[in-house]
Symmetry: C2
Subunit: 212 residues, 2 copies
């Protein structure tokens, strides 16, 4: 990924390109997807698309990095500023669940699957995912130390929580009965009941989460 | 799938072939995987492997059907014989969670991803998955009618439960700290606390699940 391309990664056009590319790659498979397919889906010329991407070879890794950066920006960074572990957990579940429903979940699914990466790229994405896992597990450990967690194994609970939060990427439909915010609230409800002691849950319900 | 091949689908050799093929396809991608790669990994000749499979073209669909048949045999059929909805739910969570950890979860992941299927194959697998989803949701609906479910949306709760149960396919390691049975018990604990009213949970804990 070229430096000046990285600096534009935040803008909406770049995001739309990554999401569209992810959807096509998931539908057709990476090998069967051409840069032309992606350009056509976006209504761009191939030359125009190359203004945003370095090439098909780097595209998969760039999409995954974009997904991890999106997670850092919208979930991890604001969550780090929340001292109360219960409030932090609620913030992470809601904002991560909403994030995974974006663009039919294609970016999330691609990050989980990691097809066709080089070993070095694979290590980099795995390191980033591991850091997220550790951050989430440390939040559960803090709740355990504070006597607020039910009797669960924190590692298995963290993975189970991730399964709950990531799964809407596979089923959520934007024209369905529930909005992504409502789905996120349902997941928080099940997760809090499933993981926290009743007194801690009651305290959390009254706490307003403020984005920092 | 030829008729005589279908009749051998239950035997261990056939199961091992499907699991190994699923692992290689997930690692290398479907397009990059050859029948030779699979034969080599199994220590078989290509001709020997063709005794068990019809060809690469049918392999993906055959693996997915094998995964769905395994689910029917080990989870759905015995669960249908359990009248009590709470006991049925516990049975399904435990046995499905154990099933998805088998063979590094490759068969489960492949069923979820459905790459490179024809539209007719896709419809068939989707129909089968939908039947499983409905069976699970009907169990939650029964619990709701009996006043045993907490205030959750049964559709979102069913998907969330599926995320919890299917996720070990992505992370479980057979040489890890917890056995697959222990992971299944942790998931049941979180799911029951997360979904059922306290009185119903207490009743369930005392109930022994008998396999039929």
């Amino acid at each position: 990924m070229k430096a000046q391309k990285k600096s534009t990664a935040n803008n909406e056009r770049q995001a739309e390109i990554y999401r569209t590319a992810a959807e096509i790659i998931l539908r057709k498979g990476y090998d069967a997807t051409s840069v032309n397919d992606i350009a056509n889906a976006l209504g761009m010329t191939k030359a125009g698309l190359y203004h945003y991407i370095s090439g098909k070879k780097e595209l998969l890794f760039d999409i995954m990095n974009y997904g991890m950066e999106e997670l850092d920006r919208e979930v991890v960074t604001p969550a780090r500023a929340i001292n109360d572990a219960g409030a932090r957990l609620r913030f992470m579940i809601i904002h991560h669940a909403i994030l995974v429903t974006r663009g039919q979940g294609a970016v999330t699914i691609l990050v989980d699957e990691m097809p066709a990466l080089t070993p070095a790229q694979n290590r980099e994405i795995t390191r980033h995912k591991r850091a997220y896992f550790d951050f989430l597990r440390n939040t559960l450990k803090q709740l355990k130390d504070e006597g607020k967690l039910l009797d669960v194994d924190t590692t298995a609970a963290t993975f189970t929580l991730l399964g709950m939060v990531l799964w809407p990427s596979r089923w959520f439909k934007h024209d369905g009965a529930l909005s992504s915010e409502q789905v996120a609230e349902e997941i928080v409800k099940i997760a809090f009941q499933g993981l926290l002691r009743p007194a801690s849950r009651a305290a959390q319900r009254g706490l307003k989460v403020v984005k920092n």
